[in-house]
């Protein structure tokens, strides 16, 4: 077909014209729209800079935002400057978020307060609600008395001395080790001001890597002590809600009288990974990580009437699972409710889940979404009736071991 014959066909000409024109128009529209977005983003960055925590935060926040503001007020309209402004604003939000959480961990120790906490968490058997009276003197004594909302009287008061490493420290899970883990697994964003329990508060949100909301903290704007924490699962469902329903900062009244000091029965382990390695050689089956991105970050040992007990703390900074392992078989389980979790029979008592593994008893206490808890239970060793061949094979192994003169 010759070129002349092609030119004679108007349909082909029209198609060629459309092929050139339409992309050109779309490209022009995209450029115009991009300019408009840049202007909006610039305005947002200026607004965030104005909402940053003012007096209670170090001046780093303002100095970090200032270039963005300057960039917005300058006459330059190029896209690179606008992108830099957005980036700086986001970085400042994250920086402020992590800095606020870090300060909140310290404030929980160094601030005197007393109040009443309401704790509502979703467990594998339903929602658990507790009320806790807390009395804390800055850098010293802490007295807590927690009770189940369904019972008349509370538990025995628990007395601890802050700062010894063997006492509960922090408020609503905001501790230094956990905040460090939060920074590795989540994106903390300071999102503005709000209020909780009638007090002005800074709001810090934790986002997952996929952008979904994982938690939201309200920090007292004056002391930075956490006032409230909401935790959401991957389906955006609220799975934990911890909040002061009554709080008072400053000079405290005398501590509750009906208290008695409790000495710690645990000894901390400096190198949890090494402990796992040592126990693995003795037949203990202890994982280094748990499903849900929970990594081993703490360990302690103690003695019970039955022997050695090992506590392993797993967390991603937000969810915390304490796994207690000891040799033996399950004994009397009065007060425990048998529940089937992913095909395994376990015993549940509110936050605690226990089951028999091969030669060991596993007890888990979890501050984690129920889905994560179920995954963890399914991943850990379980004791089950072996099949015929398994039983025969294990018996032959034991026979061989008995008859081996070099064993």
């Amino acid at each position: 077909m010759s070129p002349m014959s092609v030119l004679r066909r108007p349909g082909l000409l029209l198609s060629a014209a459309m092929t050139i024109t339409v992309p050109s128009v779309l490209a022009t529209l995209a450029v115009v729209g991009h300019e408009h977005a840049i202007q909006e983003a610039r305005a947002t960055a200026v607004s965030l800079g104005a909402d940053a925590p003012p007096a209670s935060l170090p001046s780093g926040s303002e100095s970090a935002v200032r270039p963005a503001v300057l960039a917005g007020s300058s006459a330059g309209r190029d896209a690179a400057a606008a992108h830099a402004a957005i980036f700086d604003a986001v970085v400042n939000q994250q920086h402020d978020g992590m800095r606020l959480l870090g300060k909140a961990a310290t404030a929980g120790l160094n601030t005197s307060y007393q109040g009443v906490e309401l704790i509502a968490q979703s467990g594998v058997t339903g929602t658990l609600t507790m009320i806790s009276s807390v009395w804390h003197r800055a850098g010293g004594l802490t007295v807590t008395q927690t009770s189940d909302a369904t019972v008349l009287a509370g538990s025995q008061p628990y007395v601890a001395y802050a700062g010894d490493g063997n006492s509960p420290e922090g408020v609503f899970g905001v501790t230094k080790p956990l905040v460090t883990l939060l920074g590795k697994n989540y994106i903390a964003m300071f999102t503005g001001k709000g209020s909780a329990v009638g007090r002005p508060a800074f709001i810090v949100e934790l986002d997952r890597a996929d952008g979904s909301l994982a938690a939201r903290f309200w920090l007292d704007s004056k002391t930075l002590v956490p006032l409230r924490r909401d935790v959401f699962d991957t389906s955006a469902q609220l799975v934990s809600e911890d909040a002061f329903v009554q709080v008072q900062f400053g000079p405290l009244a005398a501590p509750p009288s009906a208290t008695r000091p409790v000495s710690s029965q645990w000894s901390r382990v400096a190198a949890p990974a090494k402990l796992l390695l040592d126990l693995d050689g003795q037949g203990w089956q202890l994982p280094a990580t748990l499903p849900g991105g929970l990594a081993l970050y703490d360990a302690a040992q103690s003695k019970s009437g039955a022997g050695q007990v090992v506590d392993l703390g797993y967390s991603d900074g937000l969810s915390v699972i304490s796994l207690f392992v000891e040799r033996g078989t399950l004994g009397k389980m009065s007060g425990w409710q048998p529940v089937s979790v992913r095909g395994h029979v376990v015993y549940v008592a509110e936050h605690s889940i226990t089951w028999a593994g091969p030669g060991f008893v596993y007890t888990m206490i979890a501050d984690a979404p129920p889905k994560t808890v179920e995954q963890v239970v399914a991943a850990l060793p379980q004791s089950s009736a072996p099949g015929f061949l398994d039983r025969l094979g294990r018996g032959l192994d034991r026979l061989a071991s008995l008859m081996n003169p070099f064993h």
Binding site: T150, S155, F172, S264, E326, T329, L330, T363, G395
Partner: protein, 215 residues
Amino acid sequence: MSHLREQISALIDGELAGADLDRANAHLAACGRCREEAASLRQLKRELRALAAGPFDLAADQATGSAPGPEGADEALTRRLLSMAGPGGPVPSRRFRREQFLRSRREQPGGRPGGSGTGGGGLPGTSATRRPRADGQPYAGRPPREPHRRGRYMVWSAVSLVVVGVGAAAFSMGGNTAEPGPNITPQLQMFNVEHAINSGDVPFPDPTQAPTARP
């Protein structure tokens, strides 16, 4: 002259003796009619015996020149009656068939070295089919198995016993999935405090030690 009459049958059957036998023989020598009657009676009796003994026995009797006795005739009659039970003859017993099979294997040209290679054709249980005992006495009961077969059975029995015994022991020992250990009831109060240290939150109460429920 009076003829022998009833004495002819007694004479043919050999029942006469002494003076009666002499008097009957003297009469036969002089009387042709009685001789014919006696001859016909003997022929009839011979034919009856031939019918009872069968052709082979009769031939054997004729060959040996001896007449079968009354007991032999009874046995021959019994065999003939048995042979009339069916076209294939009487069904032999299982033991007879087994021994016949073993005998046929021994008689094969490429048979085992321990085979006797003798016998064949005789009835089961006869001395011709058995290995003679050292003392020459006949076997009283079941014939003994060959030594190599008995050893093989013993080896197989021993192996089976060992396998079953080891298997049963292994199955029994493999039943307990867990090493024996103490019975554990989790110390929740102690664990809750430790978890509070890990989680930075207040210690949970021990629900297994819960006080009185709210009314």
